[in-house]
Amino acid sequence: MQKYIILLCLVCLQSLGLAQVQEQVSPTERKQQTIVTEPVTLYKGFFRAGLSTWYNVIDKIFLDSKKQSLPGNIWGSTFSFSLYGQYGISDRLMVEVAVPYVRDNIYQSMVYELPMDFNEQYVYPRKWKTQANGIGDVDLTLGYQLIQETVTRPALAAFVTASFPTGEKNVVDDDDDDPNTFHRPTGQGEIAINTVVRLRQIKYPFVYSISAAYKYRTESSKVVAIDQPEVKYRNGSLLDISGSFNFHVNDWIAFKNILDVMQIQKDKLNGEELGEKGWLLQYLPGISFQLKRLRFDQGVMIPIKGNNVAADPGYILIIQYTF
């Protein structure tokens, strides 16, 4: 009898062991995983290339915690794109390099009216355009999975991004006689370190995550106005907390939802604090299409509430391919 009991126990244990064998996923299938099913960092030996684009107009601002039209007659648009590559050094460690290109235009228009006599006046319209056009600040990111995800345990990952001042940091005169037209900078002139900690759990077809980030920015010397000497300028540091909830609507399309709140510290000019702190609550709805190894992501970043920050939605389109 004892023999049968021992045999039964052994068979049971063996079957449990077999049941715990991990699902086998081929490398090709891994490269086709979606934003819901892929791990937080890239698999070892995988390379992913991407193009990320951003467009927004410059029209509204949050002031006194209310969305308002910008004072005066300023109109502008920002279009930037970023070429990036990611590489999985191990199943836990990945590296990413992103090279942005920035193109913004800001227009301002006004008219001067001077009476000549009772019947005539001199009308003098003026319009100005300032433009930023060129390579921005390059980002280098390291991502590491501190805890790898299992069916019952979420993944915990840390990402550290260093931004280098590769973009033009100064306001540059365009060599005409008008001090109101000039080339605006495409970079910040600073070294910045952004640290993100992310907790993520897949419950197929859903995936949830929560992230906390802090961006530390160093002081830089730069020209912020035409015909003025260099100043010491430090952009305010940034604290950011976000949560995401993504889910599959079919095998190759996923809806993205990100809610993000950030606080921006005061800028400093020659050591003196400038302006007010800013904060922003924003929501990003988006759709991710996974066509084998090719991925299209699109979304709109919608500012909901805030103070002392821009209030215009931004349009995002991302194309990625995993090799």
Partner: protein, 353 residues
């Protein structure tokens, strides 16, 4: 026996209802974009939520030439959210309801007026905001009961009910005197607010045609809109009093909305069962509108027209859920804005009953 009969009568309608739900779902599962009839299937409910961004940096003048608005400091953006609900009463009649909300702020060129000394310089900014709900549209489309699947024909009847606010809100002008570095300046900021209701009932009649081949579909639609009566509204006039505060009064006027035609023609190609690309040409023409002050002097509104070309695509995410996106280019027009924009719509279909 009674229990069996009762169970039979309860179970039969349930089974019929369930069967109908599945039959509806299977209709949608096998239906590509080009196959869809121009009215919904019986008991089909379609809810469409959409968002459109228009960048208005050009305008067509009365001669039809495109003027760059940013040169005149009048560029703006419009955000528009729309919700459409359609219900198939049977396979040939559908009910439509549509409402939208939009916002657009125009910030005019800043004016600096230099009067003779010693009067201070006057700086004037004008912001005009157009925002709020648009009028509710209700309509019925009736499809001809043709046997062939190649062609569909329908007539449309509808009405825009003046449920949205149409009288302008009182302006919020402000005045400030500044004296910086010895140069005195009177700063005026004028803020006007206009809602988007039309104030009168507008009737609509039109027709739709769709022709299909195995991978292509061609659709056209024309609608005519006519205001059923003249409307009354007012403009706000202002005056700065001795306390440097603005006083406002209403200046009434009557108006007639212009009669208008809207048209639409679309070519669709379905390369894959779940993916459809299309190109549509749509437009709007209006004429015969006027406004009149109390003296009964009618001033004609300029004739307006615009033609837009919109390429786009539709993805059938699931048989019930579709995603449709398009880009709008304004190619011609008269006395009308010439926006460039994007429209994204999410469409959900089901058979609730």
């Amino acid at each position: 026996m009674k229990v069996y009969l009762l169970s039979f009568f309860i179970l039969c309608p349930m089974a019929v209802l369930l069967a109908q739900t599945f039959s509806g779902d299977s209709i949608l599962a096998n239906e590509r974009s080009i196959d869809r009839p121009i009215t919904l299937h019986a008991r089909q409910l379609r809810i469409t939520g959409g968002y459109g961004l228009s960048i208005i940096s050009k305008r067509f003048n009365t001669e039809g030439d495109a003027i760059k608005l940013r040169d005149e400091g009048l560029s703006s953006v419009r955000h528009r959210f729309n919700l459409d609900i359609k219900y198939g009463i049977n396979d040939f009649i559908q009910f439509n309801a549509a409402i939208a909300q939009s916002s657009n702020v125009l910030r005019a060129q800043t004016r600096y007026i230099f009067p003779n000394e010693p009067e201070p310089v006057v700086m004037q900014d004008v912001l005009t905001e157009y925002s709020g709900l648009e009028d509710l549209f209700l309509g019925v489309d009736v499809r001809a009961p043709f046997k062939t699947r190649k062609i569909d024909l329908a007539v449309t009847l509808g009405v825009n009910l003046p449920l949205a606010s149409f009288e302008p809100k009182q302006p919020e002008h402000s005045f400030e005197f500044s004296n910086e570095g010895g140069s005195a300046m009177n700063n005026f900021t004028y803020r006007y607010y206009y809602p988007l209701g039309k104030g009168i009932t507008v009737a609509q009649v039109g027709g739709m045609v769709k022709y299909r081949t195995s991978k292509w579909a061609f659709s056209t639609r024309v609608d005519y809109q006519h205001g059923l009566k003249d409307g009354k509204s007012f403009e706000w006039q202002h005056q700065l009093n001795f306390n440097d505060e603005f006083e406002y009064r209403q200046d009434p006027f009557t108006y007639r909305l212009p009669d208008s035609y809207s048209y639409f023609a679309e070519i669709e190609y379905q390369p894959l069962p779940w993916f459809d690309i299309f190109l549509n040409v749509s437009g709007y023409m209006s004429s015969n509108g006027w406004t009149s002050s109390l003296e009964d002097l009618k001033i004609a509104l300029p004739e307006q027209s615009v033609t837009m070309v919109s390429p786009g695509f539709e993805i059938i995410v699931t048989p019930k859920l579709w995603l449709r996106e398009r880009i709008n280019f304004s190619v011609a027009g008269k006395s009308y804005e010439a926006p460039f924009g994007f429209q994204t719509s999410v469409i959900y279909n089901f058979f609730p009953f």
